[in-house]
Subunit: 499 residues, 2 copies
Amino acid sequence: MDSYEELLNRLRDIDLASQIGSILGWDQEVIMPKAAAESRAEHLAWISKTVHEKITDPRVGELISELDPDSLDQIQAANLRLAKVTHDRATCLPTDFVEDFARLKSNAHHTWARAREEDDFSIFRDDMEKILDMTRRKAEYFGYSESPYDALLDQYENGLTVSRLNPLFNGLRDSVAPLVKKVTESGKQPDMTWVERSKWSESSQTRLSQRVSEAIGFDFAAGRRDASVHPFCGGPNPSDVRWTTRYDEAEPFGSLFGSMHETGHGTYEQGRPRNLDFQPVGKACGLGIHESQSRLWENQVGRSIQFCKWVLPMWKECFPGQMDDVTPEILWKSINTIQPSYIRTESDEATYNLHIMIRYELEKLMVEGDIEVDEIPDAWDKMYEEYLGITPPNHTIGVLQDIHWCMGAIGYFPTYTLGNLYAAQLLEAARGDIPDHEERVIKGDFQPLLDWMRSKIHSRGSILEPAELIKEATGSYPSPQPFVEYLSDKVRRLYDIEI
Amino acid sequence: MDSYEELLNRLRDIDLASQIGSILGWDQEVIMPKAAAESRAEHLAWISKTVHEKITDPRVGELISELDPDSLDQIQAANLRLAKVTHDRATCLPTDFVEDFARLKSNAHHTWARAREEDDFSIFRDDMEKILDMTRRKAEYFGYSESPYDALLDQYENGLTVSRLNPLFNGLRDSVAPLVKKVTESGKQPDMTWVERSKWSESSQTRLSQRVSEAIGFDFAAGRRDASVHPFCGGPNPSDVRWTTRYDEAEPFGSLFGSMHETGHGTYEQGRPRNLDFQPVGKACGLGIHESQSRLWENQVGRSIQFCKWVLPMWKECFPGQMDDVTPEILWKSINTIQPSYIRTESDEATYNLHIMIRYELEKLMVEGDIEVDEIPDAWDKMYEEYLGITPPNHTIGVLQDIHWCMGAIGYFPTYTLGNLYAAQLLEAARGDIPDHEERVIKGDFQPLLDWMRSKIHSRGSILEPAELIKEATGSYPSPQPFVEYLSDKVRRLYDIEI
């Protein structure tokens, strides 16, 4: 057995353990009995420890050093590159540091939750300071060439840096913030009476979103859907992809668009290259690209007038008598209300990226040491005033709303906006190859678009870095332009205003 | 760290891996998408390999040799004894043998299923011969002092041997076979019109069996119930016990008594001693004792007239209008029909043990080399004629009905009958401590009986060998007498005949 083969065998072994971990994680979120929480934590810790021991095995390091990338083909070289990143990241952190950080995060989760509940940032303050401190140390351990924030961004999307992100967010700030302002000033908002006057039964919401997910092309013989408090898409591999949604009988949109979002993630997972099973290159290409697939179906497709034309009869079948006076146009306007609000997860397509931009700007300041912990809440509120024109009435729906920081997931937020930008850029390119895209959507024929994503994105795994994959698929490196144009055009048509 | 502590740490690590395996196994049977079968086999193989590597680690052998049982307390010594059995069993089989046997079993599963489908024993014949051959070799590897069959029995119940089993089965044969004959000759059978005239909705069956399981004391905050094709009780540990049942809308008994059966297994698992988590002594004490807990609730309690008096109003609530003319007496007779039949899993309390006795006699002959494979089908049919007075019309519902032999699970069947005997013996002893047992059951108060089992059986884990545990709990070693008396009395009352 040569070194490459031995490395692949070891990676396969590690991947199997991780796949098992993902089944345990899904089970924990979806169906595990309450009393099992403590023992499940033991199971997951056992998996983490096993994976960590195997990836940090000195023999893995030797194999990686022995292999010469120039003697390998593209796929082999990509496997080597990805294995090296994982091995280096796992070995560069001292064991003490990893344990201390794990303990801190577990504790911070509690203080954050309590701070949020009591609307009192000071409860979380000390842990947040420690998290920032350890996060900066982590960036030093990982290493970086320009900003320490680069080392953190790279965890969630390989090759992502501040110097790549700045132009993207600048483009958004210059275009989207004024757009939102214009909509707000116009004072126009759609009539939502038809939504508010009805109760939206959970079983009908399930039926509707199931039919839509099937139409998009999610394969339910190789996956499943369930309900969970925090919707997500998981599962061990392309043969077993599991997504969840949640229901609110006061409004019918959350479960439908949530289902389309997770269906997008799910189709990506189901479309991964099976000949690269158990290999790093066979995995999805980072969080930004993943989010592009969910946002594509949720927003670019799901919130289009063409989709509304196709789906409205289905709505009416699922909710008989509740929507007799609703036209595709009314549905379309109702699902595209643009309005500054406090909560990121409930925000619309336009303001969403401003929520992310604020977090990005704050994280840069934090990681680069340009802001004190005590200044964060005020800075948060000021940025909301500046970019969204609103000031959070409290910290619960302000600076304490997201779970990410108490989990130490600094550098994660930007991938949400990357997903939106990539989705627009990919759809623009796909439309070049599918000239009758809009007519297809009106007919509910999503096959050409799914096929395009299968061949350009899903089947490419992690062979390329994300920015290179976008370039290969669309002809250009990531840019905010397609998204800005898409959004401007949509807002103009929705609100009948000059941009 | 001393040797005992190091051994415990290693056993804990192994147990965690096994617990994870049991979650994967449950998922596979209950909710896994179809397409995931192949990848799930990889996950389970990974767990098996990991557990095998850890239990056969030479260091485990060293620790076991180093430890002196005389320097340990009762619990420590039991852990050592159980660890030694597991380690020895795992190390005594050559790797080639284990791999060949695994392959053979996988293949035999297919030939058995095809043979059964086509009612043609010859399709399975060659694999059955190989399974017998390898099973005999396995018995030699394990070692035994009297019969090679002892080495196989011991796998499912520590300390079980032919010389212990023979008197039990002889007792049954001499008493139960004539009993069944008398019932058959009496020509009396209950009127089942009330069952046949109705459709029994799955949702009502679910409601009824859920209420019964809760009343018995299964803790649904530390477990769950689901539907599956093959009912079972699994889950990783006492905080997460999962049982399943199946439904047939043509009759309402299967799901109820199946649920009570699995509830019995489930209460045992939930009652295991938590201070012995991750230790061999904290585990259930073999399959016979496990089956005693399921049979206790399914039969000894569930098919009693007192239980019928308590549960009938619940039946009537769940199935309104379907049972207006049913009395507790009618219900009791309907669920206790005694009638020789071909299929073990569908047989009644009396004939069930004759089905098992036939398999026990055949397995003894097979393992001791006193029967050729080609003679098995005829021997089967002749024993059915002799003990049950019926001859199977074909092999599908005859010698090919059970999955156990193609799985290499020879030595397993007797634990089913042990369960029935133990259940009767345990209930007899419990009634000594709970003089108003019958009145309690009429009121649906199962707490005293569950508490008795908790203290005498569940909380004792595997500290004692099964026969010793029965002795400790009841004052006598296992005996067929309590079961025979219970059954004779019941049959006399049911059929109004002289025994």
